[in-house]
Amino acid sequence: MQGLLEIVLSFSVVLILSLLLYFLGNRKKRETENPFASGEKIPAMRIQYLAPWLFYVILFGVIDVAFLLIALTAGQFTPIILVYMIIVSLVFIILKLK
């Protein structure tokens, strides 16, 4: 079993390795006016999302962070998690009411 130092070190290694590989690639950028459109005349635009879907996806992500916190505290329900859960719940209730 390892401690926090090894976790931070491992994540730093993978992040630096990924960044190095990414910056090794061709950095030349080109901007185009038109997106790929399979021969159709589709302008460059963003389409509207269905907001509830995004809301639920973000909710999943946030709950996952709570799980991460629980996992890192070895399954103990510490005050940090409690505070996090309360803040998150309040934010989501406010967002949902809006």
Binding site: M1, Q2, E6, I7, L9, S10, F11, V13, V14, L15, L17, S18, L19, L21, Y22, L24, G25, N26, R27, K28, K29, R30, E31, T32, E33, N34, P35, F36, A37, S38, I42, A44, M45, R46, I47, Y49, L50, W53, L54, Y56, V57, I58, F60, G61, D64, V65, F67, L68, I70, A71, L72, A74, G75
Partner: protein
Amino acid sequence: MEYLLYSIIFSVSAILVAFFLEWFDRKVYARIQHRVGPKITGPHGVLQPIADFIKLLTKEDCLVKGSDTLLLDMGPVLSVAFVLFSLFFIPFGYSEGLLSIPGDLIIIIVLSSFVAVMILLTGYAQKSAYANVGAARWAELFISFEIPFVISLASITVASRSITISEIISWQAHNLPLIVIAPIALVTFIFSSLAKLEKTPFDIPEAETEIAAGWMVELSGRKLAFFRLTKDLEYLLLSALGAVIFLGGPIGPSLPGLELIFGIIWMAIKTIIFALVFSILRGLVARYRIDQAIHLFWHKVIPLTFFQLIIIVMLGLFGFI
């Protein structure tokens, strides 16, 4: 210092193994379709994924004006980092991974969800209707497959009474492999993993014939190379995770003094078995529509996972496990 060196060696090896698995997947898929698959670069084309990766890295980065460049730069790097980091928790020889902490199974679940969010943001960051539709489809699929994925793993943790991978392996060493106790969880795990990997029949977010390449349509050069690498690493992660939680990972008959070598061999065989299952399923079935996929997950797969969980709890209550 020694740990740092191990981390670097492990990361590079994981990337190379992921490329190997991509080659394996392409070969199996090609054989199912009576094709040869990659055959030119390296012996039997084994170096083709590496060649593809290098080629994409050297290509120019082409973007539609108005796209969110920060998100598009962040997404590929963080996705690769998250999946690569998850692999640190998988034991590839010993019963513990390079990193082993209490609750590491949950960390893998969380990191894989972060990758999903990165994909969603990447699709949204592009100023293209196809990419946006792909991202929206991914969001819909994500909230359908994530629940059975987590509950199938929950069945395993309830059976082995642990959320730590090394303890799950040790439980299987002293009892039965969890594939015997939780066969339904295995099926639902495979379904959810196929969706997570965007492999047929769940390649809906990047369906070539419908929305070009979906959320990846405007990606090119190093961004595309990184997302392809992310998918390869996820393929390795999910195959290895399946091997560990259902088949006991590195557990198997070995000779005294050669436990590590035999551990690596057993783990490799079991990982390949899972990779083979994913590839064969990909080659045999046709793509679902998004509504069919959502219906399948919510009406069939999720009830099945709950059924499995109830069975495991009952077995535990009556003292069978």
